[in-house]
Subunit: 489 residues, 2 copies
Amino acid sequence: MRKLADVEYAIGVLSWDKEVNLPLKGARFRSQQVATLAGIAHDLFTDPDLGKLIEELVADGAELDEAQKRNITLSLRDLKRSRKLDRDFIIRRSQLVSAAYHAWLAARKTNDFSVFADPLAELVAVKREEAEKIGYEHHPYDALLDEFEPGMTSRQLDTLFVEVRERLVDFVRRIREQPEPNDDFLYQTFPKDSQWNYGLALLRKIGYDFDAGRQDISEHPFTINFSPEDVRLTTRVDEHNFATMTWSCLHEAGHGLYEQGLPSEQYGLPLGKYLSLGIHESQSRMWENNVGRSLNFWQAQYPELQSVFPEQLGDVPVTDFFRAINKITPSLIRVESDELHYHFHVLIRYELEKALLEGSLEVADLRDAWNEKYLAYLDLEVPDDRRGVLQDIHWAHGSLGYFPTYSLGSFYAAQFYHQATIDIPDLEQSISQGNTKPLLDWLRENIHCHGQFYSANELCEKVTGARLNFSYFMDYATKKYARIYDFGF
Amino acid sequence: MRKLADVEYAIGVLSWDKEVNLPLKGARFRSQQVATLAGIAHDLFTDPDLGKLIEELVADGAELDEAQKRNITLSLRDLKRSRKLDRDFIIRRSQLVSAAYHAWLAARKTNDFSVFADPLAELVAVKREEAEKIGYEHHPYDALLDEFEPGMTSRQLDTLFVEVRERLVDFVRRIREQPEPNDDFLYQTFPKDSQWNYGLALLRKIGYDFDAGRQDISEHPFTINFSPEDVRLTTRVDEHNFATMTWSCLHEAGHGLYEQGLPSEQYGLPLGKYLSLGIHESQSRMWENNVGRSLNFWQAQYPELQSVFPEQLGDVPVTDFFRAINKITPSLIRVESDELHYHFHVLIRYELEKALLEGSLEVADLRDAWNEKYLAYLDLEVPDDRRGVLQDIHWAHGSLGYFPTYSLGSFYAAQFYHQATIDIPDLEQSISQGNTKPLLDWLRENIHCHGQFYSANELCEKVTGARLNFSYFMDYATKKYARIYDFGF
């Protein structure tokens, strides 16, 4: 398993390097090198000797401790899943992904979904086939979702998203009736170097360990790790938008802190890996939003920020800054969304991909369905495909079942953060004095160190005493936005 | 073979990243990841199926063209060599290398060779064993040398180094009797950013392709490639020494231009690989010295350099600059040596490692032997081990037989460059007008594109009509330094 991890992390280094360093002409052989390593990793994992060993350990594991047993059980789970997809299927799927990806690029270029429609339809068909091969109890969606969010089901998601529809739609509508906060001052000129240095300082302040990581520039921010002792972030800097760099830093740092907190002695084993994408995202969202868009946090950090940008922010009170960075306004683009509208973006994608999978929606009708939903949920006319159904790469990659993990992240974050304020009575005060270490310690101890020892549902119950519940997010949103928009609920 | 190359280049990416990017704590798992990939590469190369296939193609290769035949022959050569060393031997050797390397680090710290002596003695013993396993005709040295410089023998080296002793020692002594050129102005303050940008501009000017490569900072400059389309250089910048960055750039660019000129359609095959370390070094030395320390080159480049550093160099005539960058003065440290004394450094190491291998010198006496030779050849008292026998990493890595390739590089460079001036009559004029493209084109056509199609001896004869001959280097040195030191020979 560790040898396999070595190869997978080597792929990680090659992929990171591709985003951060690769010279233009280097792409061709780099793809080939990654494909070769991916083939080697696949062979290592499906090596019959490894499978036999795992099965023997499951059958006769009396001497193993709980952690070892869990490592074995989870390895067997992953192995069984991978055995359901034979080599021919994987090759066929990867060819369809490649075709769909290139069609998506071409469609974006011409701003025309129809270029993407047929390859996507073929890809959806193969994903449906995949769901059948993997197997599921209630809905084919569950088979795909399980890869990203083990243990989560479409039934649990349906319950959550019913509440999003019932409670959040109305809440956001009421906010939108209030006067908008002014955020013009976030869009002045903020020199790139100063932003970059400020971002690094912010990362240090919240406990990101630069001896076990680094930050670089890439087109799209991401976090990647090659061990808990080498966890790398990327960001981007927009000279005319202070928000781009700052909250991407905090978001990626949340991912990075999680990876740096995984137990290095479990390297390559399930207990050394992140639990699920939803739990991963709970860490990034917590630092980005629950902490990073709170008044408490900026009460401590703002004077330094003002000293870095005296001309831009010297005259702006921290309360105005706080209101500006929490402005609620619908946007066509998911990744540019505020933290409330965000869940409508996810909800729309969830409804659409579920419908595609069960066959109640044809890819040919996807654009229209997309546009209708944006009108219904966000009150927005979609002006073209690039700002509509073509905006995300996920479907072109064949990643159906991925989007809900983003919302799960916010919901878990709210529930965890609520628990942290109970377990650490002076947490808010501590943050308002510039000390986020108690929170990080709490996350390390309650979430990071466990890897995959608990399932996400188990972890949530263990930490908060309850299963995932949308109310925590609603409570967080209500408390925060009532203050900003100055109205009672 | 291409799959193997993919894995080897992946190791390359991980190694490059280690030197350029790795956070402090990342080293432990990175070493493990590299070791795993190295094991996989070894298994791929020694896979009996590959060996059988190569042998079949050798036996029945009537339909193959010359290039394919040569690829097969060379692959079999490498395979046969690797078969002579069994797994146990390789593990034992790698353990001794690791022990010797750490002893070398410790010895450097305490500045005491005796800490390194015993592990080195064991390593020399295992290298002697390796030479016996590999086999040789005349001298065990040849078996080791062959790994770095295929086809070269200690007899051929002896002949070359006799001339170094007979002709170069006397020549340098006569130079040293002349007044030294002033080079103080090279050691003013040259701001790092300006140096860095100037270095990049210089690389562009001589034809290094930044779409197929990049330059970064590392502790020790090096060149590495992951395909001919991704060739990376590193350099270092010393604010108080203009020479450090500039000639390291030119040197590494020489290596880089060679790698960028290898045929990409031969990726992973011998015809897509550099011919030998000596030939590789001929490319770096040519751009560093034959071109990069010539008056012609700087006659074109100097005005721009002056405009970048007007305060430092505005008042320095190009002829003074030319003299300064060619100042001949003995140094204790090989990597800080001028281009003439350099060969004494190599000669000393060659004599010592040959004696160690044949058993005529014991490791216990190595320090004394080293110090005696520095007195004899360079007229220098070695003040301590760190500036003496402990200065290079090569022996600690088990790389006996490597050093001579540095001198071979200079000698090949002189002979090739001489031929280039014959084949391109206006070469010198073109360079003095700032156009080095004719030289690069000539190198591409005569050297780079062949990969390993010819042996080094064959290539030298094909290109220059003669075998490697020290006289070309002597002629180059005589012509150049007579001018600088203003005396007849």
